[in-house]
């Protein structure tokens, strides 16, 4: 099977969907001539031309709204935000327009649109450029929220997102673009709303998504070799709708759970997971569910402070030892 990067997997997904459906177009800053700020759209302008690969002014609110309008009349826009930090300027169109239109029109006007781009912290980009907004969008009824962790999932989920008739917020990991993984030659899709067990285990469930899948997998390796614990790593992949059945099944086997996420703790994705599981899997739990998150501060620039602010395998291991009552 070919091994490609997460970046190229996203590129393939857009290319294939644009070939398949002439109503799909890509719009955003630097997506065309510059080949994408992170080169995700490389070659698309050359293949599909400027009417379908559209460079915009720096006008996030404006072009997000243009996307919504085009979707309302039958197109399938893919709106790229250079990063999700800048999408804050467009959140009115995402939340007040895209997410609401189908409902408030009484089901007359669907908005099949994908808002995508990289989120989360990279390296030393400081407070305004290092933010994971998953829980912000997951809060909103009417939006679907996706955050893939591997090239395989990135491609399959983006294809599903483009075909979905609802607005989909698709958060990529800036630090994942160079990650390599197997992606089949033949066409496939990954359905929205399905979590995936990335590593089986029977002692503890590690719930994660996007970049923290790598953190959880690293912790799981060390838990096995250094602590004699087999962790099951469950990648949520889609944050709304949340795949509670898969989590419940895992917990039924492990009876212990740690939720890892890149965002801040307050009202985070983990808070939602804990809320669901304490109701749905109460009898399976042998310990309170613990969470590992970013420190509850804006991201500092200094590299040592930044490292201390991010969730690490060490923190995951410490939390697992606590839910296993080893510490």
């Amino acid at each position: 099977m070919p091994v490609i990067t997460y970046r190229d997997a996203l590129n393939q997904a857009m290319r294939e969907e644009m070939q398949r459906d002439p109503t799909v177009f890509l719009m955003g800053e630097e997506v065309g001539v510059y080949q994408g700020a992170y080169k995700v759209s490389r070659g698309l302008l050359e293949e599909f031309g400027p009417q379908r690969v559209v460079d915009t002014p720096i006008a996030e609110l404006g072009f997000a709204g243009v996307g919504v309008g085009a979707a309302m009349v039958g197109m399938r826009p893919v709106i790229e935000f250079m990063t999700w930090n800048f999408a804050l300027l467009a959140i009115d169109q995402v939340v007040n327009s895209a997410a609401k239109m189908f409902y408030m029109s009484g089901g007359q006007v669907p908005v099949p649109i994908v808002f995508r781009g990289p989120g989360g912290a990279a390296l030393q980009l400081a407070a305004q450029h290092s933010q994971a907004f998953e829980s912000w969008y997951a809060h909103i009824p009417g939006l679907k929220v996706v955050a893939p962790a591997t090239p395989y999932d990135a491609k399959g989920l983006l294809k599903s997102a483009i075909r979905d008739d609802n607005p989909v917020v698709f958060l990529e990991g800036e630090m994942l673009y160079n990650m390599k993984g197997e992606v089949p030659e033949e066409e496939y899709i990954v359905p929205l709303g399905a979590a995936d067990v990335k590593r089986p285990g029977q002692d503890v469930t590690l719930v994660c998504h996007s970049k923290t899948v790598t953190v959880a997998l690293k912790a799981a390796e060390r838990l096995a070799t250094e602590h004699g614990l087999e962790a099951e790593v469950v990648d949520l992949r889609t944050l709304r709708p949340l795949d509670i059945p898969t989590l419940r099944e895992s917990l039924h086997r492990t009876n212990r759970c740690v939720v890892v996420e890149e965002g801040w703790p307050f009202c985070g994705i983990g808070a939602q997971v804990v809320d669901d599981l304490q109701r749905e899997a109460f009898d399976d739990l042998d310990a309170p569910i613990l969470r590992v998150t970013q420190a509850d501060v804006p991201m500092p620039y200094n590299k040592h402070l930044e490292r201390a602010a991010k969730p690490t395998p060490d923190q995951v291991i410490a939390a697992v030892r606590r839910v296993a009552y080893l510490d």
Binding site: E30, P57, I58, N302
Partner: protein, 333 residues
């Protein structure tokens, strides 16, 4: 499309000291940025680092006419603005290195320089977001009835952000003493202005709001100074805003991580613009007018070299912030 330099500009012998000061400041900015670029390549500066090389005349000429009590706001390409506002080269370099002695105590980095004592209020990373903020300082000035001005620096790509238009309208409507300085270096990252704007002349945008505006050769420090002096006067005396468009050019890539030329601009264009170098421009004009002996010029460069090397050494030797700093300053207690 940069306005042609006024090659035959006559220099006033009575202003020699001021010319010298402007020249030194531009050389300081240039040398500081070159050393920052080197430190970035060595991995001692992280994150995004946007250099100001090529644009020195804009910040140097315009900030020269401000008073210490005026307020200054800038975007993320702001090392020069902090330095010219009076933050020491040491404190700026230490911030780029993320050290505790940096002007933002290592927490802001290159894009978020702050020096409240000098009324330098950032260092903003979201394009256009500081334009209304600067007008807010203008609003406060007006409320207090002083004759200060607020000044905002931003790139030409920022004028396509809604906040720019919202702000110009309010600043004109409420007559806020604010100077909006658009540094038109022709590109927002890899997008030429003409590919992103229906109207090329940024200064014409002021017409919609009936605001005073001027376009100036941003490679000519004296021209920038004079235009800025008029705008600041308009703010102080008449409490009116101005939009200045300074036509300039950046000689480096958008940030240290971006190519200097390539898909979006040619090497030939870059070389043409380098012939308009703002520092060489003033230096030649002064030499031609007999105001600058070769030895004077050499002394200026040597003097700046000492200041910048000292800043680098200081930044290197400074400590990282204490780990407890991670949780400090989220709230004021």
């Amino acid at each position: 499309m940069t306005a042609a330099p006024e090659q035959d500009q006559t220099l006033d012998p009575g202003q020699r000291d001021e010319y010298l000061a402007l020249l030194r400041r531009m050389i300081l900015v240039r040398r500081f940025e070159e050393r920052a670029g080197e430190a970035y390549a060595q991995g001692r500066i992280g994150g995004f680092c946007h250099l100001y090389i090529g644009q020195e005349a804009v910040a140097t000429g315009s900030l020269a006419v401000l008073r210490a009590d005026d307020y200054v706001f800038a975007a993320y390409r702001e090392h020069a603005h902090a330095l010219l506002r009076g933050t020491s080269a040491r404190a700026v370099m230490a911030e780029l290195f993320g050290k505790a002695t940096g002007c933002s105590r290592g927490k802001g980095g290159s894009m978020h320089l702050f020096d409240a004592a000098n009324h330098f209020l950032g260092g903003h990373g979201i394009v256009g977001s500081h334009i209304p903020i600067a007008a807010g300082a203008g609003f406060a000035i007006k409320s207090r009835g002083t004759d200060q001005v607020a000044v905002c620096y931003f790139g030409e790509a920022a004028v396509n952000i809604g906040a720019f238009h919202e702000t110009l309208n309010m600043a004109a409507l409420w007559e806020l003493p604010t100077v909006f300085v658009c540094e038109n270096n022709r590109y927002g990252m890899g997008t030429a202005l003409e590919r992103a704007a229906a109207v090329y002349d940024v200064s014409r945008r002021a017409c919609s709001y009936d605001m005073a505006s001027e376009t100036v050769d941003g490679m000519n420090v004296l021209a920038v100074r004079d235009v800025m002096a008029r705008a600041v006067q308009r703010g102080r005396d008449e409490k009116l805003p101005t939009l200045i468009e300074a036509r300039t050019y950046r000689y480096m890539g958008h940030s240290m991580a971006d190519p200097i030329h390539g898909h979006y601009r040619t090497k030939i264009e870059l070389e043409e613009q380098k012939a308009l170098d703002p520092i060489a421009h003033l230096q030649h004009a002064m030499t031609a007018a007999g105001m600058l002996a070769e030895a004077d010029a050499a002394a200026l460069h040597a003097d700046v070299e000492v200041e910048v090397e000292d800043a680098v050494r200081f930044a290197e030797e400074s400590p990282d912030p204490d780990p407890a700093e991670l949780y400090a300053d989220v709230y004021r207690s």
